[in-house]
């Protein structure tokens, strides 16, 4: 059957050669129920033998997949180019030489050797060929992800923002001891020059501090990335500001601060709360030495504006003593952990009497330090699923097992296993996982 088919296709191919039409006859088309000598119509489809791949030379093709044009680069194409993502597997391979070591006269061997005609012949396999190829490919170099210790990593991947670049360089004999600088922003910026045209530079915003209230930040541009980092680090060291810390871990009071369209509401938090804020604010806090704080940004989240607004807010804080003097009233602290026992944190030189206080005066501490603002706290709505019928069913089912966890814990404490009053009578019914090994046997 197969032989007949071959014969058929050969004949057809010959007949249609001039028309450049390829023919395919699928085996499925031939049904066993049909007569063997029945005429079979070939399926004909047109093919073109010119394509992108056989019009261009290999070098051009290779360049096309491994690089990106200048115009394309400007549009942001080919971000991965230059990372050695691709390997030329063709290197080290010669036409006529393959896995099976075969002698092809005229291709990889002369046709006539001496006075003898060389015949096509299979030679013993060359075991080293494959290894040589692999060695060659390995030597071409691999794409390696830049490995950074997780502790040293910044906000995102191998990007600079959030990463530490060390203390500012010493100025003369003055050493920046205990300082750490963190990059907040590193980006390319362009300017137009009359003679040079579009000039590219790197802009770096970094913040430096000693974790004890001394900190500064600087924005610097340089044609080199390294230069930008170094310059901004050193300039930040020249612009230090002192920020007083409350109890060494947080800010003195809630405050509101604004720079441009960026508005920040910052609130003081007790020990152990941590930093709950934008990553830039978090980085600044770590560098300054603030450990507990909550900040909410409203409006624009332009990074430079955030940094400026936050620093302004920190600097505009008032200490408890200042507040007491301003108000001519005692500032009293009530801590829940001390059962709300009043503690005087600051007293004025001259305290006012009750009748000296105006009726419309802002007496609420938080409202006063926020500049008469009241933070809008959105109402918390119940989650959507509480309206579903399935939630009601879930609640009904939970009702039965609502205290199971407590009972289980209690039993584990008192009996060392989960048991019931029937366990003595039917020991085989108790939970096996909590039973000792000999009981299972």
């Amino acid at each position: 059957m197969a032989g007949r088919l071959l014969c058929n296709t050969n004949l057809l191919a010959k007949a249609l050669q001039n028309l450049r039409i390829g023919s395919h006859i699928t085996q499925n088309a031939v049904n066993s129920s049909r007569l063997l000598l029945e005429n079979q119509l070939p399926c004909i489809s047109a093919t073109r033998h010119t394509s992108f791949f056989n019009k261009l030379p290999a070098t051009d093709l290779w360049k096309g997949v491994t690089s990106v044009s200048n115009a394309g680069k400007k549009r942001g194409r080919g971000k991965g180019v230059g990372k050695k993502m691709s390997k030329d597997l063709n290197r080290g391979q010669v036409i006529g030489v393959g896995k099976s070591n075969i002698l092809w006269p005229g291709l990889n061997a002369p046709i006539i050797r001496g006075r003898e005609l060389v015949h096509q012949q299979k030679l013993p396999e060359d075991s080293e060929r494959q290894q040589k190829l692999i060695k060659l490919r390995d030597s071409m170099g691999n794409f390696r992800v830049l490995k950074i210790n997780p502790i040293d990593r910044g906000w995102s991947g191998s990007k600079m923002p959030g990463r530490s670049i060390g203390a500012p360089d010493p100025v003369g004999d003055e050493v920046f001891e205990g300082f750490d600088t963190r990059v907040l922003e590193l980006k390319t910026v362009f300017i137009m020059k009359g003679n040079l045209g579009r000039r590219r530079r790197f802009s770096c915003l970094s913040v430096t501090g000693n974790g004890k209230g001394l900190a500064g930040f600087a924005l610097v541009k340089s044609p080199e990335v390294r230069g930008a980092l170094r310059k901004s680090k050193n300039r930040a060291g020249q612009k230090l500001m002192h920020i007083e810390l409350c109890d060494g871990h947080t800010i003195f009071h809630d405050f509101y601060t604004q720079f441009g369209k960026t508005k920040i509401f910052v609130s003081k938090k007790p020990k152990g709360h941590g930093l709950v804020c934008h990553r830039a604010i978090m980085t600044i806090c770590k560098v300054v030495g603030i450990k507990d704080l909550h900040a909410k940004i409203e409006g624009s989240t332009n990074l430079q504006h955030i940094v400026k607004a936050f620093f302004l807010g920190l600097l505009q804080q008032k200490t408890h003593k200042q507040l007491a003097e301003e108000k001519s009233l005692h500032v009293v602290e009530f801590r829940k952990e001390n059962d709300n026992f009043p503690t005087i944190v600051a007293s004025p030189t001259q305290c006012r009497k009750q009748d000296e206080i105006r009726s419309d005066e802002v007496m609420d501490f938080t409202q006063y330090v926020l500049g008469n603002r009241i933070v809008l706290k959105r109402k918390k709505f119940p989650p959507f699923y509480t309206k579903h019928r399935s939630y009601e069913i879930y609640l009904k089912k939970q009702e039965r097992i609502r205290n199971n966890d407590k009972v289980r814990l209690d039993m584990m404490v008192n009996y060392g296993e989960v048991r019931s009053f029937l366990t003595d009578k039917y020991p085989e019914c108790s939970e096996t996982k909590n039973k000792p090994a000999e009981a299972q046997e």
């Binding site: 009293v332 952990e337 001390n338 009043p342 005087i344």
Partner: protein, 386 residues
């Protein structure tokens, strides 16, 4: 069924009920093997005697900072307020009042014994069921101690429930916050000893107050064990300014083992408290003494009001005050000390068990006191105050 619609039948499944009882009984029996000093007669009336209460309170030496010391809470937010001096003083007064409540001493009363009180015997009901029936009146508003809880035994006897069952049923229907139905494992001897080894006296005593009623035998066992441990470790300062100091002093005075506590008081220069402790000792053991000493001491030493201790001392022009602040004692204090010295010395000579130690301590304190006195008079002279 005479308790109306609120009546609840409480049919325990026999095995579980018995198990619980067995476990708790075992624990209690283990507890009770530890020797502890019992009260031979009811200490309740003596403890609640106003004179005794006054002495105990004075000995406690209330310090608001310690009463309101830092505790772990779920919400540790800090609040700030602007206040005038008057408002501030009001707040402090309130805090002091609250402290008074917080350091109210847990009473020491006689251990209550179980007694069987049968209501009726109905032999006709014998073997009606193979479990006991507990019948509890859970009407709203009835005091836990007055609540009617009865047991119908399997032999048909109807009787008042024993204390252990009463406590369990009360805890089931009217849970006391923090109290467990079973004895917390902390009170098992091995764990309790570990707590004691870590000197967590206040924690143990606080939890015992929650878990037990003052008339329970286990309460007495645990508290006395703690007091004895403190007496051995001499860490009396751990309980000072807490509500447990008074009961501890009462226990020591009742059982005539005040020597270590007295030694500690002398060493810390709390002579007035020492005299009070001796007076308490005399009073509890029915020994006559000169009661005028209390009046004398009171007129000389003003009971330091808790508010004053908190409010910052104002810079006064009074030289007396300044000298007092520099030395820590005023002329009245010195005379009060002399009276206390005498009173304690007579006790040490006649009744004390550790005479030598106490005498030496008294001697040492007297010497330092004399030096201070000299300095005081010298300073007075230098400032030209007679």
């Amino acid at each position: 069924m005479s308790f109306g619609s609120n009546l609840r039948m409480f049919a325990n499944k026999a095995s579980l009920c018995c198990n619980v009882n067995k476990v708790t009984l075992e624990l209690f029996s283990r507890c009770s093997t530890v020797a502890f000093l019992q009260y031979d007669k009811d200490p309740g009336p003596s403890f609640s005697n106003p004179d005794v209460q006054k002495l105990l309170k004075s000995m406690t030496r209330v310090q608001l900072e310690k009463v309101y010391k830092k505790r772990s809470v779920s919400d540790n937010t800090v609040e700030y307020k602007f206040m005038t001096s008057e408002q501030l003083e009001k707040q402090f007064r309130k805090a002091a009042e609250r402290a008074e409540k917080l350091i109210q001493m847990p009473p020491i009363v006689k251990v209550k014994e179980d007694s069987q009180k049968v209501i009726s015997r109905d032999p006709a009901l014998t073997n009606f069921s193979n479990t006991k029936f507990v019948i509890a009146d859970i009407t709203y508003g009835v005091n836990s101690s007055d609540r009617k809880i009865l047991v119908r035994q399997t032999d048909g006897t109807l009787e008042y429930a024993p204390l252990s069952i009463r406590k369990r049923i009360n805890q089931i229907y009217f849970p006391h916050p923090g109290r467990k139905i079973r004895l917390p494992r902390m009170f098992e001897p091995e764990h309790l000893n570990r707590c004691l080894a870590n000197f967590q006296y206040e924690f143990i005593l606080d939890r015992a107050c929650v878990q037990f009623d003052p008339y329970e035998k286990e309460y007495h066992e645990i508290t006395t064990k703690v007091y004895n441990h403190i007496n051995e470790s001499k860490r009396f300062d751990d309980l000072r300014s807490t509500r447990h100091f008074g009961p501890m002093a009462f226990y020591f005075a009742w059982h005539q083992i005040i020597d270590d506590l007295l030694y500690d008081m002398i060493k810390q220069d709390y002579l007035k408290n020492g005299a009070e402790l001796v007076a308490l000792y005399y009073q509890l053991n029915g020994i006559d003494y000169d009661k005028s000493i209390h009046e004398k001491l009171e007129t000389l030493v003003q009971p330091q009001s808790t508010i004053q201790s908190v409010l910052k001392p104002k810079a006064s022009d009074d030289m007396h005050e300044e000298i007092k602040n520099a030395i820590g004692k005023s002329a009245e204090d010195f005379t009060a000390d002399d009276i206390s010295f005498e009173f304690i010395e007579t006790f040490v000579k006649t009744k004390a068990l550790k005479k030598v130690q106490l005498e030496l301590a008294l001697q040492a304190l007297r010497e330092t006191n004399d030096e201070k006195k000299k300095l005081y008079h010298g300073l007075k002279k230098a400032h030209g105050i007679s």
